[in-house]
């Protein structure tokens, strides 16, 4: 049976060199046993997540964050929050993992899904397009799998359909959410206090919509004003780096 499977495996892999048929199952190295001592709590969270006990999983992930502050904890928090429908909290969580320079294709997909459910269609479209375009690029790591590609492709198609179905008089550039509405939402959240991180998410959407506006230069001062206000609110917080990145993307000058 093993030999047969091995032969089929060689055919399926397209591996030309003959691989010696050795029994693998019982040959596990003893070093495999000495592990996951400090991953234990995280794995408990994963088990809870897989059992669809998302609230419990979220609690565990918060505990892991407080104890060890692993760089990729934002993905775990974001996914759990997404599953709980708390998209406004999920987006900053995903952002924190990205800030650490990490990419996780499945988490990125869910982040786009959260964006969509928050009404940030321009960001959802941007992130999904990037996800598909990124796949298989040299040095990009494992290519995006066909399942994820299919899902992302359908998702993009759905966004275009949703945009086409809306009244063009009430929407902004590209048929998506209007720029003014996104700007107002960001300003409102910032004024409300304590919602700076979510305001940053809406600012991201605003910047995305601004890029497609024909009267971009006319609208730039308003965006710049909001960014300056947000700079004060986020000063000294990790999210400040994201604001600076947005500032650079808009090309709003050096005043910030």
């Amino acid at each position: 049976m093993w030999t047969q499977l091995l032969k089929i495996g060689v055919i399926a892999l397209g591996l030309l060199p003959q691989v010696a048929a050795a029994q693998v199952g019982a040959a596990a190295h003893a070093s495999g046993a000495a592990m996951v001592s400090d991953q234990g709590l995280l794995l408990d969270g994963v088990r809870a997540f897989r059992s669809e006990h998302y609230t419990e999983a979220l609690g565990i992930f918060h505990k892991v964050e407080a104890e060890r502050q692993p760089r990729d904890i934002g993905f775990y928090l974001g996914m759990a929050l997404h599953k709980l429908g708390r998209h406004a909290e999920a987006l900053p969580a995903f952002r924190s993992a990205h800030r650490a320079g990490l990419r996780e294709p499945v988490a990125d997909y869910y982040q786009a899904l959260s964006c969509y459910r928050m009404g940030m269609l321009a960001r959802a479209r941007r992130d999904l397009s990037a996800l598909v375009a990124h796949s298989g690029a040299p040095g990009s790591g494992p290519a995006l799998g066909p399942r994820l590609q299919l899902g992302a492709g359908r998702f993009l198609q759905a966004i275009e359909q949703a945009a086409a179905a809306r009244d063009p008089k009430e929407v902004g550039a590209g048929g998506l959410h209007s720029f003014e509405a996104a700007l107002l939402r960001a300003e409102g959240l910032l004024s409300a206090g304590g919602k700076e991180e979510l305001a940053l998410e809406w600012l991201d959407e605003t910047v995305e919509l601004l890029a497609a506006l024909p009267e971009r230069d006319a609208q730039l001062p308003a965006v710049r004003k909001l960014m300056l206000r947000m700079r004060e609110a986020l000063s000294g917080k990790p999210a400040e780096a994201d604001l600076l990145a947005l500032w650079a993307r808009v090309g709003a000058g050096s005043a910030l």
């Binding site: 499977l5 091995l6 089929i8 495996g9 060689v10 055919i11 399926a12 892999l13 397209g14 591996l15 691989v19 010696a20 050795a22 693998v24 199952g25 019982a26 040959a27 596990a28 190295h29 495999g32 046993a33 592990m35 996951v36 991953q39 995280l42 794995l43 994963v46 088990r47 997540f49 897989r50 990729d72 993905f75 996914m79 990490l102 990419r103 996780e104 294709p105 499945v106 988490a107 869910y110 899904l113 969509y116 298989g136 040095g139 990009s140 790591g141 494992p142 290519a143 799998g145 066909p146 399942r147 994820l148 899902g151 359908r154 998702f155 759905a158 359909q161 949703a162 086409a164 179905a165």
Partner: protein
């Protein structure tokens, strides 16, 4: 290209194709065997093979190729703490443990590989946006989004244990069907090509054999004509001397039975030499517009004169009154007379009353046709085979050249002389002379006559 060369070439191609078929059959068997395995079995086989390759020193970048070739969702290595193993040259793409079943993964690290469900990818559904466009987007079935994961230990002597993870989605599950279809298509294409090639080889070989036969027959016909010409010339002069001597002797001694016998035989031999000469040479044809109907009428008059007893032999003329054709009237008269006399002789050998019918018709394509039909004993299949072969005759006094010369004349007109296939219940024989609307150029007609000459 000569038929033999073409046949050899096609034979080589066919040989190669048959080798291809053999290989395709092996590929088909391997493909079908692979396709018959379940998704779990295939993923397990790939995982074990790839795991062994990694244990023997293959670089982790191999996994990119493994994922790509097998339409996997992902293929990656985790360390003993279930953290992704960094791959040199790659950007920082990670995997979260949420994609992993930690219990199965840990068991695999202890040497217990497994394949099972990993995660279900959420998609937008009808509840996301209750519009018609969302409904058109559709909602996937329960199994569409499920991704399987296989966990396989990678144990190298000088390295800590690692875990190979292979994620397989619907695309991987669809591979066997694609493989099966491709394998069948490849096999069918190879078999079809080989069959076609074999048919082409057979056709080329047949054409070559036919050409060879025609060449031999033409050669033999040429030799026969040369011999006939030589014999005719050699016999003609002595015959003249014999005829002159016999006639002189008759003047001197008066008529006698012996001298009349000599003169009759000389006359017969003279006719024979004339036929030889006609067979060996092709007198120039004077092609002009003529009326085959009128020619048939003339022949009927002559035949009725020679066979006045209608109770014994009725001569009938049927078909169109006027049948225009391009031809040499004297040559065609000879042809039709020859056919009619042959028919009359055949019927005379059979007691009872008979009918000889000459039917002339204008063909729809502008050509012309004359049928000479009798109610005689017919022509047996054995004789039909050598009907147009020189010097083959069933008549005691015949030369076996009459039909050959007739056929040659018709062919030089670009036409055909054929014996109509008979049904069993039909009596007699029917020869058909068909002429085209426009006769071919003389050279083409000669070539045509030469090719079928025997």
């Amino acid at each position: 290209m000569r038929p033999r060369t073409a046949a050899l070439l096609l034979l080589s191609i066919a040989g190669l194709l048959f080798i291809g078929i053999g290989l395709s059959v092996r590929l088909l068997r391997a493909g079908l065997r692979t396709a018959s395995l379940s998704t779990e079995q295939r993923l397990r086989a790939i995982g074990i093979t790839a795991g062994q390759a990694l244990e023997q020193g293959a670089l982790p970048t191999l996994l990119d190729s493994v994922a790509r070739r097998n339409d996997l969702e992902a293929a990656y290595l985790l360390d003993a703490e279930l953290q992704p193993v960094p791959v040199p040259g790659r950007s920082l793409v990670t995997v979260s443990l949420l994609r992993i079943d930690p219990d199965r993964a840990l068991r695999a690290l202890h040497g217990d590989p497994s394949v099972g469900p990993a995660y279900h990818l959420e998609e937008l559904g009808p509840n996301d946006e209750p519009t018609a466009s969302w409904m058109a987007f559709g909602h996937p079935g329960p199994d569409v989004g499920t991704v399987l994961a296989g966990y396989f230990p990678v144990v190298a002597a000088d390295k800590p244990a690692r875990l190979l993870v292979l994620e397989a989605g619907p695309a991987f599950g669809a591979l066997p069907a694609q493989l099966r279809a491709t394998a069948w298509a490849a096999g069918a294409t190879a078999f079809g090509s080989a069959t076609l090639c074999a048919l082409l080889v057979i056709a080329a070989l047949r054409a070559g054999a036919r050409e060879q036969q025609l060449r031999v027959e033409a050669e033999r016909g040429r030799a026969l004509r040369e011999m006939s010409a030589m014999v005719a010339h050699e016999v003609r002069n002595p015959l003249g001397t014999i005829r002159a001597g016999a006639e002189l002797l008759r003047e001197q001694t008066g008529p006698s039975e012996l001298i009349e016998d000599i003169l009759a035989e000389v006359g017969r031999l003279s006719t024979l030499t004339n036929q030889f000469l006609q067979f060996s040479s092709d007198p120039k044809l004077c092609i002009a517009e003529m009326d085959l109907g009128k020619l048939c009428d003339e022949l009927c008059v002559r035949l009725r004169r020679e066979h006045p007893d209608e109770a014994q032999l009725l001569i009938k003329r049927e078909g169109d009154a006027t049948v225009l054709a391009q031809g040499d009237v004297d040559s065609l008269r000879q042809v039709l007379l020859n056919l009619a006399l042959n028919a009359a002789q055949a019927m005379q050998a059979l007691p009872g009353s008979h009918t000889l019918t000459l039917t002339a018709r204008q063909l729809p394509n502008g050509g012309a046709e004359v049928r000479v039909q009798d109610t005689g004993p017919g022509i047996s299949p054995e004789i039909q085979k050598s009907l147009f072969v020189p010097f083959r005759t069933t008549k005691s006094t015949g030369t076996g050249l009459g039909l050959v010369i007739s056929q040659r004349i018709v062919q030089r007109h670009g036409g055909t002389l054929t014996l109509l296939a008979q049904r069993k219940e039909e009596k007699g024989a029917c020869f058909v002379v068909s002429l085209p609307k426009t006769p071919p150029l003389p050279k083409a007609a000669e070539a045509s006559a030469e090719g079928s000459d025997s």
